[in-house]
């Protein structure tokens, strides 16, 4: 069973979102997502300053198996990307919720965060997919 930390927010498309003290949010893919993808070998991350609407493709993660899109969980502007992943994409397999974060985003409207799933709602999404 995959790990789903209680203090994060989630999307149906398997991104996790963490509110940071500076008002930005950190975004990554969930433990369930990295398990489905298998060994990750390449990340195509957005440019700092790029703006995305909620639900838009903003990054690509590639595993030995396939390429998979990552969607912006909320609208906003990219303020930082995780440079560690350029040379060590496998960090996402090892630590999906920690060192394996993909990017930080400054949300356009803080209200959108409320529409994200909490841990128990995301757990239901994962369970529905596994059956």
């Amino acid at each position: 069973m995959s790990e789903i930390p209680k203090d994060l927010k989630y999307t149906k498309s398997h991104e996790w979102v963490k509110a940071m003290p500076d008002g930005s949010v950190a975004v990554g893919i969930t433990d369930h997502a990295q398990q489905l993808l298998g060994d990750l070998v390449f990340m195509e991350l957005p440019k700092v300053g790029a703006e995305f609407a909620a639900g838009k493709e903003c990054a690509v993660v590639e595993s030995v198996k396939a390429a998979s899109d990552v969607y912006a969980p909320v609208s906003g502007r990219i303020v930082e990307v995780n440079g560690l992943l350029t040379d060590a994409p496998e960090t996402v397999n090892k630590d999906a919720y920690g060192d394996g974060w993909l990017f930080r985003l400054k949300p356009g409207s803080p209200g959108e965060l409320k529409s994200l799933l909490d841990a128990s709602a995301y757990k239901a999404v994962v369970e529905a997919e596994s059956h």
Binding site: G38, V41, F42, V60, V64, K65, A67, N93
Partner: protein, 365 residues
């Protein structure tokens, strides 16, 4: 639920991620595909390939029968146990399947064919055999296949299955096989490493697998099987060739048995014409210069020479780079540069001779 090999329960117990593979429930990996890949290159790993189609061809006329059906020449098989890689073609020279033929004796040749092509292969064999006396087609669904591959594979097989095997198999050169009771041991494989392919009664497979695991042979899923064969520059049916491409367009000219000229195998006419006129496309290797991953069907742009397509693309764990087999215009030379279209962007790649990796070592600069 799909078809299952005799090792299905064993895979589940060993923590395999099971996926549907052409109608079969097969292990994709047992944790990490990349670790499994390295294990085979550096030590020893085992694959359950019992889904593959073992067919025994028996009778007085087996040799002329296979001489008609196979693009490679069974005349090359004169020593008992000798194995040969070949394509089986349609009348247009297209590849129905690629397979290995083992010569056991004049009355018995063994074929190991792909799983995905099983029904059309058997239909083709049956239809052709009806026109010829003295040929029996005997599919062997009762058999399982365990491929044990890697630099330490042979030693670990002896450790697991008994030292008695050593004297019977240690002198086997590559591409040979021998039968020891119910066990068929072949020095063939699909990884570019030394090792054995063991064909054995399906009911004996779980016990042998367990013994191999205890000897330190790691279970390897079909994911790593694909990255290993791609590094080794070995074609995959349905990707690098199919019924619309000939061996000459698929990097397999070396498998065509042109001599004797009198052997009129199915597809020969088309191959002779292509040989005389030259082919317009060929299979080459690609190495991506920068970061990214090459995938099947991506477009390859070769300047004024024209365009082509990736037939097998992926990430090479040994090289740490993306590699591919691609079908490109014949004019494109090894060493030249081309662009691959990946999600609307053009990434630079180099055309190389393959294999990319052999016996654990990189073959590209």
């Amino acid at each position: 639920m799909g078809y299952r090999t005799p090792l299905y329960d064993t895979h589940v117990k060993m923590g395999a991620k099971i996926v549907d593979f052409g109608g079969w429930d097969m292990p994709l990996h047992y944790g990490s595909q990349i670790e499994e890949h390295h294990k085979v290159r550096q030590d020893a790993g085992m694959f359950d390939v019992s889904h593959m189609n073992v067919v025994d061809i028996k009778g007085a006329n087996v040799r002329p029968f296979l001489g008609l059906l196979m693009a490679n020449s069974v005349d090359k098989l004169r020593t008992q146990g000798k194995a040969m890689y070949t394509c089986m073609l349609n009348a247009r020279g297209g590849v129905i399947d690629d397979l290995i033929v083992y010569y056991m004796n004049e009355q018995w040749f063994r074929l190991v064919m792909n799983s995905s092509t099983r029904s059309k292969d058997l239909a083709w064999l049956d239809a052709t055999s009806r026109e010829m006396e003295g040929v029996s087609i005997l599919p062997r669904p009762d058999l399982g296949i365990i491929a044990v591959q890697g630099p330490n594979a042979r030693e670990k097989v002896y450790q697991a299955l008994g030292e008695g095997l050593r004297s019977a198999t240690e002198k086997l050169k590559p591409f040979f096989a021998t039968s020891i009771g119910e066990l068929f041991v072949a020095t063939t494989g699909y990884t570019g490493e030394d090792g054995f392919e063991l064909i054995l009664p399906g009911k004996a497979a779980p016990y042998s697998w367990q013994g191999l695991a205890e000897a330190g042979v790691a279970p390897i899923g079909l994911g790593a099987r694909d990255t290993l064969r791609l590094e080794a520059g070995m074609n995959l049916y349905g990707h690098d060739m199919d019924e619309t491409t000939t061996p000459l367009e698929s990097g397999l000219a070396w498998t065509v048995g042109w001599d004797p000229a009198s052997r009129n195998f199915v597809g020969r006419e088309v191959l002779e014409r292509q040989r005389a006129e030259g082919v317009t496309r060929k299979l080459v290797g690609l190495v991506l210069e920068g970061k990214g991953v090459l995938r099947d069907h991506q477009k390859v742009i070769c300047g004024s020479a024209g365009e082509g397509e990736i037939t097998s693309g992926g990430f090479s764990p040994t090289l740490g780079k993306a590699i591919a087999l691609a079908r490109l215009p014949t004019a494109v030379a090894a060493g030249s540069r081309c662009d691959v279209e990946v999600r609307g962007k053009r990434l630079a790649a180099r055309v190389v001779k393959y294999p990319f990796v052999r016996n654990g070592k990189s073959c590209v600069e």
